[in-house]
């Protein structure tokens, strides 16, 4: 083989490997997408070609499943969590980024550490407390515990974005006559806006997909979408066409959001350890 042929062969092998890898990554997702449009019978026949139907989406929103309520709960919980977390995290992140404080490293490490604490540890005391004060199975309770996983993440991520804003610009604004708060409002917030939006989307996805807290804290009124999946266990086993339809309702919006923040994905998920 000439050097050129060898190169071409190697390129072809690489392309094939990439396609296989993509196939493996996509198949489970695609299979759910297909099953969601299949009838009950088609699912059980492993059919690749079938007459698509939308009836599964109708069924999941109807009695007794009423996925609409879960969708509403998920949306409210994730949205309110983000609305509380982002402004609070932004102020703290600015301060961490721009000032040196007594015990700053300590605070940052503790905040980082809370991110890694297993959710089961956090939820035990909350369950006991919520049972005593009547917050079990409420959206408010769920929002509170969701803050535990979202806040540390948001603080670190937004700090990373603010670190990336040059000091020069802020100092120019101060010399130009701004107070510190004016600097934050007029300069930092507009410049950090894309970063803030990215962080908000990240946090929304995390809160939306959160499973353990909702599993333990809710049973009827505040059930969220991921927990709702458990509804589709019939007497004769799982109702896969309905599960898949519900799955799409959970996944699809997150896919759209995730594609929006593609650029910041790595930096966000590693909290700045990898850029």
């Amino acid at each position: 083989m000439t050097g050129r042929q060898r190169k071409q062969l190697w390129a072809a092998v690489q392309t094939a490997l990439i396609l296989i890898a993509m196939f493996i990554m996509l198949v489970p997702i695609l299979w759910i997408f297909l099953a969601a449009f299949k009838t009950h019978v088609d699912v059980y026949q492993l059919k690749l070609f079938f007459t698509p139907t939308l009836e599964n989406f109708g069924i999941v929103f109807d009695d007794p499943y009423r996925l609409g309520e879960k969708l509403f709960n998920s949306t409210v919980v994730a949205l309110v969590t983000v609305i509380i977390a982002i402004p609070v995290a932004t102020l703290a992140a600015y301060s961490f980024s721009r000032f040196s404080m007594r015990g700053e490293t300590m605070m940052l490490v503790i905040i980082l550490a809370t991110q890694f604490v297993p959710a089961v540890v956090i939820i035990l005391p909350f369950f006991v407390m919520f049972r005593d004060i009547g917050l079990l199975d409420t959206r408010v309770g769920l929002i509170l515990v969701n803050l535990a996983i979202v806040m540390p993440f948001a603080i670190w991520m937004i700090k990373g974005f603010i670190d990336g804003i040059p000091m020069d610009t802020e100092e120019a604004a101060m010399v130009d006559g701004s107070s510190r708060l004016q600097v934050i409002r007029n300069i930092v917030l507009p410049m950090a806006a894309p970063g803030l939006l990215t962080s908000a989307i990240f946090c929304f996805i995390i809160a939306w997909n959160e499973f353990l807290f909702a599993l333990i804290l809710t049973n009827k009124n505040a059930v969220t979408l991921p927990i709702g999946l458990a509804l589709f266990k019939g007497e004769e086993g799982d109702l896969w066409n309905l599960l898949s339809a519900a799955g799409i309702i959970i996944m699809a919006p997150m896919f759209v959001l995730a594609l929006m923040i593609r650029k910041y994905f790595v930096q966000g998920m590693t909290m700045g350890a990898v850029r």
């Binding site: 610009t169 100092e171 120019a172 604004a173 101060m174 010399v175 507009p190």
Partner: protein, 352 residues
């Protein structure tokens, strides 16, 4: 318009001394350049004047006012930053207008003033653009316009030309000089580029290790350097510094060559300073001393000869038509009127 007075100003970070107990009086309407290598404390000094850095000790006065405890916004200074510090989310107009807006200047007043400032730096046609759409030189002008749009007591400029390419730097330097003569506002200018310092300054303060080494007009620091550091820092190529001693009115190199007549007391160790331009190049045998060429460089407007002088290398400037080759031997003579003598211990100048 105002004078600036720094009294016993010190800045320390832990054990590191940024600025060491320095006093400096900058006169009203003066253009003062702080010159020195990186880490010499020049930028720190300026940032303390701006209020971006808090002094560890000492007092800063702008006009009659003690400003130590004033926030930057209350000091009535304008600053041009090394990386310009433009607001990327605002248009050029908004950038220039920001200092007025934030100080509550009436809307109707803002537009004419911004337009005037933009005109002074030739930016009128770019007012609707964002900084990202501008070239480096244009961004530099926006930073300038933002500084001159109001009449501050003091201009502060932190290496404003260092991010521009060599050619643009020369143009902008001239524009800056023109503008500063027009405006007549007290200016502090930080740079590590001695040509900028020489061309722009009324007076230059040369700094090293947080200490002002010499304060004087460009003429003074070039022709009358106070110590070894200033002598070596100013001028291009740098002043030649030759180790040796003084004996019987002659400077003798470490190698034992009796080099040149010098009107000084005998001493065992001395350093002779001589600029490349103060040496003449002759054919071999016709100068004070014959030396071998280590490298011959033709810069177009002149030639530079690096010659081996015992263990040291010395640079002499030759005529633009001179052509020599490596290892050729030439004669060199020194101009006795422009010799400097330094004490190697204290590094101070020994007055002849």
């Amino acid at each position: 318009m105002a004078e600036i007075r720094l009294d016993n100003l010190t800045k320390r970070w832990g054990d590191f001394v940024g600025v060491d107990n320095q006093s400096l009086h900058i006169r009203d309407r003066e253009f003062l350049v702080l010159l020195g290598p990186s880490g010499c404390g020049k930028t720190t000094t300026m940032r303390m004047i701006a209020g971006l850095e808090e002094p560890t000790a000492g007092e800063i006065r702008i006009g009659d006012r003690l400003v130590n405890d004033d926030l930057p916004k209350d000091r009535d200074v304008a600053m041009v930053f090394q990386n310009y510090g433009l607001y990327p989310h605002m248009t050029i107009f908004e950038n220039i207008a920001y200092p007025l807006r934030v100080r509550g200047v009436a809307k109707s007043d803002i537009r004419p003033r911004v337009e005037k400032a933009a005109e002074q730096v030739e930016l009128t046609e770019f007012l609707d653009r964002k900084p990202k759409a501008l070239s480096g030189g244009q961004r530099q002008r926006v930073a300038l316009a933002r500084a001159i749009v109001r009449t501050p007591k003091v201009f502060l400029m932190d290496e404003p030309l260092s991010n521009l390419d060599a050619k643009l730097r020369v143009t902008m330097r001239a524009e800056l000089k023109h503008l500063s003569r027009e405006l007549q506002i007290t200016t502090v200018y930080v740079t590590h580029d001695q040509i900028e310092a020489m061309t722009l300054a009324d007076r230059v303060a040369v700094m090293k290790h947080g200490v002002i080494q010499q304060l004087g007009t460009p003429d003074e620091i070039y022709n009358d350097p106070a110590n070894l550091f200033v002598a070596g820092f100013i001028g291009s190529p740098a002043m030649n510094l030759i180790d040796g001693s003084v004996k019987d009115g002659m400077f003798v190199t470490t190698g034992g060559t009796r080099l040149v007549k010098i009107d000084a007391q005998d001493r065992d160790a001395a350093i002779l300073g001589v600029r490349a331009d103060d040496m003449q190049v002759h054919e071999a045998g016709q100068g004070d001393i014959d030396v071998k060429i280590y490298a011959f460089e033709n810069t177009g407007e002149s030639t530079l000869l690096t010659v081996q002088w015992g263990r040291q290398r010395v640079i002499a400037r030759g005529d633009r038509h001179l052509r020599k080759d490596q290892n050729d031997v030439v004669g060199i003579s020194l101009n006795e009127d422009h010799l400097y003598l330094f004490d190697p211990e204290t590094e101070n100048r020994i007055r002849i």
